[in-house]
Subunit: 507 residues, 4 copies
């Protein structure tokens, strides 16, 4: 979901743009709302700003409820008790911190489309690159929009195509020919049919699952397989890139591939950071990928050949994101893994004190080095990625100044991020990406410059080849745009080049 | 703080009863509210139910604000903007979930005492064992109480002693002779003086810190040293058992020991579970204790001598509490540490589905085994303690049934908990403690019985000697009552024996 | 539209009873809702109480939305986004302030008629004089009414005639034979046909327009031509008295005259006050009429022959209604036009202070004399009409007391209003009309008496001959009933005489 | 009041930043709320976004109510009935259209300051240039801000100075030494005293008035004298630049000049556009100034010497802002004044249709040329100012294309606006000001270029000398910064030069 916004808070991590979940039960008297609760809570890491559900009733109506807040706050017992229906879809929206005005439920999902002719509800994860153009065309046909979101554009487009037809696969097929971008979506009709669709390049994950017991039979659609685990179901398979899957009580699962593409473009960052380690995406275990990324780093690490350093070294993750990779590194290196930074899990928002020291303080509320562990040590610090670099710099400073670490060796499980993402991840512009900016300014020496600015004694990134090996897919199957600057969609490539030339002209 | 309550939710972990924090600045125009915010957020793990602050102004008034909720929600910018003053104290109350009626601010701390003669505010952590008796005596003197809390009893007692005097050390000295129990407290007068006091046995931690810059000079009092780190201060020292420390702008720090005791009784569970690993309590690093507890377990572990098992073994913590000990164990054992359970950090409340399977589902929302990691493995599962045993049982079942673990070997960093705590920890009764109940029923064979019921293939607890060694203190310096049933206060010992005989008569 | 009501606020100006607007587009995929928005906002001066639209969809359904409030509030983006269709009609209802119970949407227009046989929507401007009689007859045929409006009577009558036929021109022809009164109406069928009809005497204006571009072709019907300007269309012509015009995509514009009348009775007050000056009614520019009315007044004005007065005179309009006429007067008189009264355009409602002075205060909130302009001057004050006279009296008092005007010469562009209107204008009874009442009481001297009571130094009204000359139509083409007491419909004449005799018996 | 915002709507006119009004009555039992209603409605033209009042009660408390909306909507009868008190202040905030997030009452005025020590309420009109700097200093003293407004900075500054003192004149004196910018303010204490202060240069108007009757005695403070007229009071005098006026029941009016300045800088635009014509500012009638501006234009107008044009010419104002000046012009020129453009007074918001023609449509909803008046004429079009130029261009196009005007001669009562205002008016940047931009690009030929782009046949601006003559003040008494680029405050001058050099570098 795309909203233009200006963050006034420091964004330290890329933020995923949504989670979607759907469920349908063959027992018309059974209410699936609780499964929406459980599925969405399992996907909460993909979006913490707002929570929404749409429920389809056997009587042919759709009811939608959405509010700002985490799943347990929004879907409280009152709401779970009030909303009944044997089919439902749900959505978590990511944190657009500081983007006021988007508190309106109009900006949340699912988008419940209901004009005088057509009714359906839609939840999606991704970004429509050409939404402005589609909106303009629809404006000229008299359509009026109430938000600035690509979600509404998509919904109004589908609504316009569906005028006078009920052939939903055909509607989605036509829509997908007009939509340019990344989209994993779930559409629920007022008749209680669920359609799951993934864009032809398969940028975002989407999978289906099943739960059968003696009394009832349920199907699920979810952004990640961990949600299917949590509702007690079993993972059937992923929705394929360019596939529409129809989940219906009458006909079971029915699928058709509407658009075939020579290549796919699954986001590599799903493996590196976004997805939960217990998820399996397109057949690959996220946890295993991260473990292998740690092994790769250790294999390539020159400091492990220096006995003076190795003897004095401990492997410390940046919690929580660095743990999986640190464990792999420690095992391969034969070094002790240890938690040298305490994370306060109650700090979601950071109160920023005025003055120059504010950033250090902001990090200090979240992370505190454990002096008794790191003092005098060569700390091999593992993290998943560097975006702006400011947080990493502060962590290293804390480890040295407060913790008394002898040296800090930064190891990053992802290759340098040099380009923004236009496919649904809230990365900053190239200018704000430390690797992107310094690569422009310093060329091949940019890694040394990053190391200097961040204050680490040594630095080591994953290579792109090691990354694809760890994922077990080749470069024609993944989107590596943030690492290479090469975008799998031509429309995006053009956009990225335009932005890049503006930055160059400024510097 | 003591409140009688009935939980309708399952308590799986002992819960600490509060955090306290105080600050005083020598610049009368400076407002310390933001330090209260930061100090309390660093101590949020000790209490999540309610947040409160009292502010003393240069004009000699005290203003108090307290509400249910986490620190960032209660101390929002509006409140921080409204409350000014150069001296303040704050308090986090732990979760008395389901205890309705305690939502009244009367039940929150700090307790702001203000009659027509005397005004002060008090925040404390601990339990007054003889509060019913004191209340009865004071009732007879015409005092009227509005709550059922020991906090109010303590405040009214102090208020009564202080009638007609301003010698606060003397007042506290007299009060402490009448109060039987555990108490670390901070008292703030309307003149802006802060007094920190720890009971003679020193059950609960309490420490003081300092922050000096060119413009101002601040002192802090805190339940744990991590709060002093987070506000940017340096730890001066712990408040000693039986000591009153006076923090004042005029006289700096002034201290007197009012009650000396041959022994002390620092709660062992602060090291095992409660305190943050980055805290240092009475000179001992919590993180180091936990690391040593892991080493001890590995040293004593028979399965490490079985090559078949060792070869197939991985060391998996129960997140987040088992990590520190697992790291120590893995290092000593020479085995890989790995995260085999995914924890959902957004689940605070668990939605319980009806029917018998509810407990498994409840755990499933929080923890999901990572099949690709644990499948076919001998999982050495590390946790800090077993209370009722129900959660542990479900985790082991998940690891085997969903994760496909070959065997699960449970390793606990704390010796068996067999007796309830009367000193401020929310342990259940002996009957509800799995080790307590089975020890009564099965005598020396109770560990085998625990293993059977919990479903682990082997089980190993820490020994009490190893525990005291790891802490580096002897049995006369620690409270081990929950492990031994021997209470350091005679009044409590009597209470415990009474309760125990009731249970025996029932079974 | 006729509703019986009791105003608790003082009505200072006659208020028109509604605006109607319709549009049809030949492109079935185009949504005309935005044109309804623009057309109705251009006609907002004719009604500010409620706004309503009916939309006909290509699928053959009609959807209606109406609410209290101005057009921009009711037809907000959410509504414009929700209602689609290539044909639509809309309506503004005038302010029945204080008439509670009429907040129900049942009392708003368009009236969406939908029983199990017939569906259409109707919007009209006018008053059905014999609606009580028709209602009685239909009651006897088993019809059940839910409101007290002539709108519903008209709709039920049309619905009854249409039973079993789809020949809408025939239906309307029959209806118009039964309906006695003024009515300009638009009827929209569920098939998307639009019929515009004007009563045989043509009391109320109604016109049609067109907009063609390369992609689409639109027709419009509107109460006034200014609405056609605002939607970007061109005025084709007026609907003739007694004509039915059929607007359809298949057949373009088709018309038939159903009832011919020897005379017509276009309301003179449309030119004097109601219509927007930029409208053209039955071929006559409203702005030009008003300009000529000012010229006429100056030509007849004796004070312009008094050099002492003329030298000291300024021409001041009562804003906003007096401007057009004042400009004509000033030009003819060769005197300076100047704005001597400031009008607060944000005052729609007037807060009335208790006590006798309330009326002065009420006017004071809306109008403030500009002392630097009027002080010491002979103010020639131009307004369009005098109804009760109270406001005019207060304005004159303000000009003299606060503004310091030497003399005030009142000049009125309309002849004295002596009789109520039964044709759709909210005039008070003859008793409440200052000219009507004083004519009964003082006979021919009533003008001197008005001058005395109103506090002006001289007074001059338009003559009826000058009025018809300015409009450019003769007395057989206009309704002058409020000026002459002679009503063009016999049924009304009888009603008026009855009411008049009641008044005489009272005085 | 200063808020950073991004308008998404086209701003066609500079918008004033607020109105303030205060009243105090010597009868403690009398409630002044109704006077706040009347005073604020008279000042509604200075701000339409939100309305707020603070009431001080004889008991020493302050109650504040503020909401989005016009005065009559916010101060409805329920509110007027609920809020009682003999002293009160009020505020209208200007329209920050589209600036969502500012719907919070925190962003409205009066700002009711109430911490644990001090209580007062403040309403102000102006802009504090150095508010960021003051905020930073106060942050370092521990103050926490909840908005981004200079209002809150001013309130917190005053609150900090007032700590421990009740000498309000002294407090305001100190505050005004620290505040750099334009500010007319009213401060009300919890004791019911009212202090009115105007900044040393007197940028914004502020005046006091009185109302005495047999029973009570009232004092008023108002942004403009028209508000004192409307409440029925008499204007006493203006508050002088740098003066603090204390209105109190005990001591009547007491005043002191705290800061003397060699020059003053009353905003010229108050005379040209902002203030109501019936107001008198610093002794000068706004209506008279505007009349003289029209006379000046006619005196300098070369086309009046061309008989061919003059014979065919009519003087047409852009309603409502061009009327006053058009009247003066017409009189001096001896030409007929006539209303040739119809304004829809119900259009506050404009619905924008997509596509290139949207701007024309937007203007078309508001203004429609009256063809019968302007056709074939030389239209001398009078307006007060040109800001961006887009609206003017569209009006001229409408007059020619729709109205059939032969030629349009644009006459502007204000000299070219070439520089933005930093003192409280919502002017766009120099780059967006048509005169500013074209002066940079075309130098001395910029007027010809404006004429070409705007599409008028001739153009004539007021000269600066004629403007100051018409106002009757010299250049050392007025702020002419938007016309000359020379700012009366050095801090602003620097800011303006910085911005200007950025623009130059871009073009």
């Amino acid at each position: 979901m795309h909203i233009q916004k200006k963050d006034k808070f420091i964004v330290n991590k890329p933020k995923e743009h949504c989670a979607i979940f759907g469920v349908t039960c063959n027992d018309l008297g059974f209410s699936v709302t609780k499964y929406l609760y459980q599925g969405l809570i399992a996907l909460q890491h993909r979006g913490q700003e707002s929570t929404g559900i749409s429920i389809s009733t056997p009587g042919g109506k759709i009811y939608t409820y959405k509010r700002n807040g985490l799943v347990p706050k929004v879907l409280n017992n009152k709401i779970l008790s009030k909303y009944w229906g044997n089919v439902g879809i749900g959505h978590n929206r990511y944190a657009t911190t500081g983007a006021t005005g988007y508190k309106s439920t109009d900006y949340m999902q699912p988008f419940h489309f209901n004009n005088n002719e057509i009714e359906f509800s839609i939840a999606f994860n991704g970004t429509i690159a050409n939404f402005d153009e589609i909106k303009k065309n629809m404006n000229e046909l008299g359509r009026v929009f109430i938000t600035d979101t690509d979600t509404e554009v998509m919904a109004q487009l589908i609504g316009s195509i569906a005028l006078g037809t009920e052939d939903w696969p055909e509607v989605l097929k036509i829509a997908s020919k007009l939509l340019d971008g990344s989209y994993s979506l779930i559409l629920m009709t007022s008749k209680g049919d669920i359609y799951a669709m993934r864009d032809p390049l398969g940028f975002k994950p989407l999978c289906i699952g099943e739960l059968k017991d003696s009394k009832k039979n349920l199907y699920f659609v979810a952004s990640e397989s961990c949600a299917i685990d949590v509702v007690g179901g079993i993972l059937l398979r992923d929705v394929k890139p360019g596939e529409i899957v129809h989940l219906s009580h009458q006909k079971d699962i029915h699928s058709e591939i509407i658009l075939k593409s020579n290549r796919t473009a699954l986001c590599q960052f799903e493996f590196v950071y976004f997805s939960r380690p217990d998820s399996i995406i397109d057949g690959v275990s996220v946890a295993e990928v991260r473990f292998r990324l740690g092994i790769n780093l250790a294999k390539n690490d020159p400091i492990l050949k220096n006995p003076e350093i190795k003897e004095n070294a401990i492997v410390v993750p940046v919690p929580d994101s660095g743990r999986s990779v640190a464990v792999g590194y420690a095992k391969e290196a034969g070094l002790p893994y240890i938690e040298g930074l305490m994370k306060n899990r109650y700090v979601h928002r950071t109160f920023i004190m005025p003055g120059q020291e504010k950033r250090k303080i902001a990090v200090r509320e979240k992370l505190n080095p454990i002096k008794s562990i790191v003092q005098g040590k060569d700390v091999i610090l593992l993290d998943d990625s560097i975006v702006r670099g400011t947080t990493t710099q502060q962590i290293i400073a804390l480890l040295k100044e407060k913790g008394g670490a002898k040296r800090v060796h930064l190891r990053i499980s992802c290759p340098p991020i040099i380009s923004p993402c236009y496919m649904g991840i809230d990365f900053p512009t190239k200018e704000e990406l430390i690797a992107g900016r310094l690569q422009i300014l310093y060329g091949e020496q940019y890694l040394e410059e990053i190391q200097k600015r961040i204050g680490s004694d040594t630095i080591l990134y994953q290579t792109i080849d090691d990354l694809t090996d760890a994922i077990g897919k080749n470069k024609n199957q993944l989107c590596l745009a943030c690492l290479t600057g090469e975008y799998p969609l031509k429309s995006i490539q053009k956009l990225a080049e335009m932005e890049s030339s503006i930055i160059k002209s400024r510097s």
